[in-house]
Symmetry: C2
Subunit: 154 residues, 2 copies
């Protein structure tokens, strides 16, 4: 992650990942491809649903986090002469969709390193644990999850 | 979910959700929009990475599940005279990316109802818990998570 090596990772580190705008167009495009529930596809259906107005798919909120995470990582890695290779993620826990993200909202994402440890069976990689969150333009927490990613050792 | 009311949900129920083909085009399209890491964008970069060959973003594997889940739900709900309204998901736990999904793979998804319970503060909705999995065309488990979704009571 971020071009950092496992050895350099310090729990407590916080990185602001920038923001992603959930334009009406982006919300509809994601929903048509991956989550074609009526309330993600039209204002009319959304108005009649529990959402009240057009809302992004929860998986879109997650994909927006990934987009911001990757862009920030590529920028930080690009600024290093010897960036660490990005590793895969074995998965994550406790993903929460806390509030709807409506068309027109902008979500700012942040990642905090919460821990690091050896990973069974991997000698060249360590496991880094993170807490990730997204706040909308009103400062409301709308999304969070606890992530895990494998990071190269030097 | 599935047009079923909370009262009708029976733990143990298994639904096959059909499959999603991770064509090269679909892999690249998702990666460009949401996960532009080099190993998701070109065969050359993938060959030099831990993946070895072009692999779908893990979030794409999740979005493929959603696509299959929504299509199956719409079909089942459409076959009922009185389908229940779909509810939001508060989130999920233990999402696992178990094996890479490579360009050209087809993943078949399945959802199993593992439990149901009252949800604090919601009188008209109950919480349904699920175990969800995806297997590739060789029958290998590549993806799983424990989901939660709010379902309308009658």
């Amino acid at each position: 992650m971020m071009g950092l090596y496992f050895d350099e990772i310090e729990p407590g580190r916080v990185d602001e990942l920038g923001s992603y705008e959930f334009t009406r167009e982006a919300v509809l495009k994601f929903a048509r491809a991956y989550d074609p529930q009526a309330f993600h596809l039209s204002e009319e259906a959304a108005a009649k649903s529990h959402f009240g107005k057009l809302a992004a798919s929860g998986w879109h909120t997650a994909a927006g986090w990934m987009r911001c995470y990757v862009e920030t990582s590529m920028r930080l890695a690009g600024a290093r002469p010897d960036p660490a290779e990005s590793g895969p993620s074995p998965g994550f826990t406790q993903l929460k969709w806390i509030k709807p993200v409506h068309a027109g909202d902008t979500v700012s994402y942040r990642t905090t390193i919460t821990g690091k440890r050896e990973h069974a069976g991997k000698r060249d990689w360590g496991l880094v644990e993170t807490y990730n969150e997204g706040h909308n333009q009103r400062g409301e927490l709308v999304f969070s999850f606890n992530g895990k990613v494998l990071v190269r050792k030097r």
